[in-house]
Structures are given as structure tokens and as C-alpha cells.
């Protein structure tokens, strides 16, 4: 039977198990949309391609499976790029399929022509410009294999319109692309790592997103308890270890817990698991874990020695490495370290229990966590509110926090919440946002309303670009420039305009009464919490300083 390139693409996506695609049509991907009309795949029409990209990310981050978005050539692609770059930095498997002008027009500055290949090259794991319908049969499964293998990442497939329209005879379909099998870990290397851990007096796990990707959370929980090894986490590792675990010390780094940074400072062995020594986590690198030998376990060997020299590089899947380690580790008496760990634990609890204003975001966040269902998915935008969530929301499970860690993209929160809600219709999704960030993708409230998704936007409204204001206060002599909004829109009116219920809260009784009422109702809602603008996120390590030079709290 003959199929067009567009039909082949859709057929292969169906065979790949894709059930949802977010995107926006246009001239150069019309054939793809025509083919989609006959498909079982559910199309989500976002209101901006960046929204479509982040919806795909929300699906991928909350499920671990590769998700798909569509955009047309030119402006459609350029709008999508932010979400793709974001996926690259946080290693999120997304396949973006973009329409391109017909092959014969490429290079002629045709209408809506843009060099998608060149633009996407530095922000993807790999990219393809497809030259024939025939090629689609290898490129599409290959894109899914690449996106999901090893360290995941985004793949762009650019398909010229003539390729979408080209008809070819197909007698059999290729197998769906699957992630590569996990490569075995070098036995002698894992033995060295185990020996180093067994010999250490003050071992510490420094964990990140790689533990979540390899689904090693429960194994890690067993190991830390069996061998009494404490844990600190990066932003994207939150949820791996339950917040109330006595061996868990929270987030390290710039806005990390003091206790976490102190443990890193005093450990003699840092076991780095699925992390990349990002500067927000390490602070001044030369003073990061100054007394420690480093065992680095990661699937991507290019992370070894990239930022900091390590003493043992274990290349492989984190879950696999942990299961090998489990049999090689020996219980040790480390009474000195246990005492330090115990002291850290009480300091952590002291720092977390803040009395004072009910409207302080840290208190609102804790209150929300106490009433939200246990399997609620949290997304954030970028700013102070993001750091408050990271510090104070008691995450208990992997994949319950979706946040833009590497790129730090304002506008991430709402569309990624849509993706999470589409993938988990039975769960509540709360997007914590700021009055700056929310406006970056506010148009997606229309998408939320279209599908009546169970997405709650909780806005911390401080009339400012809060995190930037904080930096100007602390490091630029309180010279405030371009951080205070001249006026802010009436968010309740905006929500009403989209047909979404909302409430504005400006006093403590609103937090305890109106907030739960709206939060616990099914369907979309916007909760606008007016907060003082003077609050700072503390503790904080000044940019470029060592993590021990924490200010505040």
C-alpha cells in the first residue's frame, strides 16, 4: 500500500505508543496535521509553540517516557526552541517534529524558512533533516532510540513539506525505536568504588536527576539505611529520598540547606550519583567538598572530570551500579560521622519550622502540602517561589517535582503542568508561579480551560521580579533597576476571561479558608496570593562564593 511521508510519520508515532501530541499547525506541517486527523493520537492545541514544547516536557518528566510536540517551520520552530534547550539541559526525552519548506526552497529564504537544523544543533541530543519519505522509516524509530537511551535528551526531526507529501509503497513497518540495552559496569571499577566507600569515615551521597531517570530511588533508600550513609540532593533530585527521612538533608548549593552544605564540607568521600556538578550546586568549585575523595557514578562519561577531578569514575546506569554496590558494601561503625549527621538533622528541623506570617510562601507551601493529595505533582516557574518550593515542599516520591533546573526558564510551570495533568488525569497538579513568570506563558490558561484539566496555579504575587530584586538588594547596593512592575494585571479578571475559577488571598484567613476550598475542587483554578515583596530566599550563597559562606538562616 502507498503512504505519504506524513502518514508514515503518524503511523510510526502510533506504533511508538504515542497517545498525545501537543503542537500548532501551519503551512509547512499541514500534511502532518491532515494525516493526524485520521489517527487515534490525541492532539493538544497549545496557544504558543513554547507551550507545546513544555507540555511535551511535562508528559516526559512526569512519566519518564519520550513525548512529542509539533511545530511549523520558521516562527513555529523559533518559538519552540526555548523548550528544547530546556529539555537538553535537564536531559528530558522529547521528540520535536517540525515542518520545513519544500526541499527545493531550502536555502532560498523562502516564506517561513529557517535553518532549523543549524538552530537546533547545539540544543539537542541529535537532530535530523529528512530528505525522503523512505528515510522516515529509519529516522523516526532512531529518534526515539536516541531520545530515550543512556542520558536522555531532545531530538528534532525536521521534515520538508515535499517529503511529507511524497508517496511510497510500504509493505512492512520498522520496529519502534527502543532505548539501548544497559551496558554492563566494569567489575574492577565498581569494586574500587565499593572499597572507597567501605574505607571512608565520612561518606555522603550527592544525588541528582540521574537517580530518577534510572528509577533507582527505592534501591537507594535501602542502601542508605543499610549502610547509614546520609544524602544531599540537587534541585532535580528532589523526591528521590523522602523529605522526612532522617538520613536526608535536603538540597545543597546556592539556596540549599545549611546542614546539607555543611555535610558536603566535612565529608571525606562524596559519592556523586547521576549529577553533573552544576555551579548552582557546587558554589566555588575549588572549595566544594574540600576534604573529600570523589566517586562519580553516571551514565554519561563526559561528565567525569568535567568540572571537578574525581578519584573513581563508574560509568553506567545508576540503578545497576547501586545494585552491584549493595552486595559489595560492608556495614561500618562510624560513630564520629553519625554524631555529625545527628547534629545536622536537628539543625535542619530547626531551619524548617518557621513561625511568623501565615502568608510567607514557605508557610503557604507547607500548608498546601498538608492538604494536597499525597500523589500531587508540583511544577514551578523560576524565581524565589521556585526556591521556596524546593526548600519547603516535603517531596516524598520521584517525579513529583517538575522544575526547570538547568536552563531556569520562566514560563516553564504552567505548560509543563498541563503535560503532567494530561499524562495523569487522576492526579492533582499544582503549578507554583510568580507574577513575573506566569505572564510568560499565560496564554496556556486557554489550553487548561479547553480540557478542564486539574491544574491549580498558585501565584505568589509580589509585584516584582523577586529573585532579581533580591540579588540587587544583596549584591548591587539596593539599586533597584527593572524589577518592580509599574502595574500588575488583575489576575482574577484574567482567570475569569479564560473561564477559570480564581481567588485572591491577602490575609491569613484566606489561606486557611478560601485556598483549600479552591484547591480541593476538581478542575482548573488560579489562586493569587498577595505577598510582601521584601521577603528574601534564604539561606543564600553569594554567586561565586564557597558554599560554606552561606548568608541568612
Amino acid at each position: 500500500m502507498k503512504y505519504s511521508g506524513a502518514e508514515i510519520t503518524i503511523k510510526l508515532l502510533e506504533r511508538q505508543g504515542i497517545t498525545t501530541i501537543a503542537g500548532i499547525p501551519g503551512g509547512a506541517n499541514l500534511p502532518l496535521y491532515h494525516a493526524l486527523s485520521g489517527s487515534s493520537i490525541n492532539h493538544i492545541l497549545s496557544r504558543h509553540e513554547q507551550g507545546a514544547g513544555f507540555i511535551a516536557q511535562g508528559i516526559a518528566r512526569s512519566t519518564g517516557k519520550t513525548a512529542v510536540c509539533f511545530a511549523t517551520s520558521g516562527p513555529g520552530v523559533v518559538n519552540l526552541l526555548t523548550a528544547i534547550a530546556d529539555a537538553k539541559l535537564d536531559s528530558i526525552p522529547v521528540v520535536a517534529i517540525t515542518g520545513q519548506v519544500a526541499s527545493s526552497f531550502i536555502g532560498t529564504d523562502a516564506f517561513q524558512e529557517i535553518d532549523t537544523y543549524g538552530l537546533s544543533l547545539p540544543i539537542t541530543k541529535h537532530n535530523f533533516l529528512v530528505r525522503s519519505a523512505e528515510e522516515l522509516l529509519t529516522v523516526i524509530p532512531e529518534a526515539f532510540r536516541i531520545a530515550g537511551s543512556g542520558r536522555p535528551g531532545p531530538v528534532v526531526i525536521d521534515i520538508p513539506k515535499d517529503v511529507q507529501n511524497e508517496r511510497i509503497e510500504i509493505s512492512s513497518w520498522p520496529l519502534p525505536g527502543m532505548p539501548d540495552a544497559i551496558e554492563p559496569i566494569d567489575d574492577s571499577v565498581i569494586r574500587t568504588a565499593a572499597q572507597m566507600i567501605n574505607d571512608a569515615q565520612r561518606p555522603l551521597f550527592y544525588i541528582g536527576g540521574g537517580v530518577i531517570v534510572s528509577e533507582a530511588s527505592s534501591l537507594l533508600r535501602e542502601i542508605i539505611h543499610e549502610f547509614s550513609i546520609p544524602v544531599v540532593s540537587t534541585l532535580n533530585g528532589l523526591g528521590t529520598i523522602a523529605d522526612d527521612d532522617p538520613l536526608y538533608f535536603g538540597m545543597l548549593g546556592m539556596h540549599g540547606a545549611r546542614a546539607a552544605n555543611e555535610l558536603v564540607d566535612s565529608c571525606d568521600l562524596l559519592i556523586a550519583l547521576g549529577v553533573r556538578f552544576d555551579d548552582r550546586a557546587t558554589g566555588k568549585v575549588s572549595e566544594f567538598a574540600p576534604d573529600a575523595a570523589i566517586v562519580h557514578i553516571d551514565i554519561d562519561k563526559s561528565e567525569f572530570n568535567k568540572i571537578k577531578k574525581n578519584h573513581c569514575s563508574v560509568r553506567g546506569n545508576v540503578a545497576e551500579a547501586l545494585s552491584l554496590l549493595k552486595d559489595l558494601l560492608v556495614k561500618q561503625q562510624r560513630s564520629g560521622w553519625d554524631a555529625v549527621v545527628k547534629a545536622g538533622e536537628s539543625k535542619l528541623i530547626a531551619a524548617q519550622t518557621k513561625e511568623g506570617n501565615v502568608l510567607h510562601p514557605s508557610n503557604v507551601i507547607r500548608f498546601v502540602s498538608s492538604i494536597a493529595p499525597g500523589n500531587t505533582i508540583i511544577t514551578t516557574d523560576v524565581g524565589q517561589h521556585q526556591m521556596w518550593v524546593a526548600q519547603h515542599y516535603p517531596f516524598k516520591h520521584p517525579r513529583t517535582l517538575l522544575t526547570s533546573g538547568g536552563l531556569g526558564t520562566m514560563g516553564f510551570g504552567l505548560p509543563s503542568a498541563i503535560g503532567a495533568a494530561l499524562a495523569h488525569p487522576d492526579r492533582t497538579v499544582i503549578c507554583f508561579s510568580g507574577d513575573g513568570s506566569i505572564l510568560m506563558n499565560i496564554q496556556e490558561l486557554a489550553t487548561v480551560a479547553d480540557y478542564q484539566l486539574n491544574v491549580k496555579v498558585l501565584l505568589f504575587n509580589n509585584g516584582h521580579l523577586g529573585l532579581v530584586r533580591q540579588q540587587q538588594e544583596l549584591f548591587y547596593n539596593k539599586t533597584y533597576m527593572a524589577v518592580k512592575f509599574i502595574r500588575n494585571p488583575e489576575f482574577a479578571v484574567i482567570a475569569a476571561g479564560f473561564g477559570i475559577r480564581s481567588v485572591t488571598i491577602s490575609d491569613p484567613s484566606g489561606v486557611t479558608k478560601a485556598l483549600p476550598e479552591l484547591l480541593l475542587q476538581n478542575g482548573p483554578a488560579l489562586i493569587n496570593v498577595i505577598i510582601p515583596h521584601e521577603y528574601n530566599v534564604l539561606p543564600m550563597v553569594p554567586p561565586g562564593a564557597a558554599n560554606r559562606d552561606t548568608i541568612g538562616d
Partner: protein, 96 residues
């Protein structure tokens, strides 16, 4: 130039985007690239590329990042090579 030079041999799939992937990697990651030689091999399905780089701290990263590129099929680091291949390009091509 004070540091020693060496050359990295890459065997790659021959298609129009390969060169941008390789040079893009060097510019994006701030690696120094002192020279490039490139040609087709066999039936034209593959290309062979020689990169001239410094033997320094960056080498481990350069090699690891190059190995991650989809189109790079194999990579060999040569410490011994004839540097004239990179310096006498015009004469080796018979161009005065």
C-alpha cells in the same frame, strides 16, 4: 603555541550536517581547534576527519564529547603524526 599538538582521527557518516556537528561542538564548548582535514573514504558513505588539537587538560573532554556525537563512528588519538599535513596544505594540493 607552547603545548604539544596531537591529531584526532574521526570516522564519520558522510552527510551534510556532520561538519557542523563537529565544529559546533568546538565553538560551543570553547575547545581550541588548530586545524581540520577532511575527505571521503571508500564508496563515499563515510568520511574521515583529522582534527589538530592541543594535548592539554581539555583533551579528555574533547574526546568524550566527540564520542557522544551520533555520526562519529570511531575515534583514534594520534600522538605521532606528520604536522606538515596541516601546515603544507597548499603544496600538498599542488597549489602554488
Amino acid at each position: 603555541m607552547t603545548s604539544e599538538l596531537l591529531t584526532i582521527e574521526l570516522n564519520v557518516a558522510n552527510h551534510p550536517g556532520v561538519m557542523s556537528h563537529i565544529t559546533g561542538l568546538f565553538s560551543r564548548r570553547g575547545f581550541n581547534l588548530e586545524g581540520i582535514l577532511c575527505g571521503r573514504t571508500g564508496d563515499g558513505e563515510k568520511s574521515i576527519i583529522f582534527l589538530l588539537v592541543n594535548d592539554g587538560e581539555q583533551l579528555e573532554q574533547i574526546v568524550h564529547q566527540l564520542e557522544k556525537l551520533y555520526d562519529v563512528e570511531s575515534l583514534i588519538v594520534h600522538k605521532k603524526f606528520n604536522p606538515e599535513a596541516f601546515t603544507e596544505i597548499r603544496s600538498s594540493l599542488g597549489i602554488a
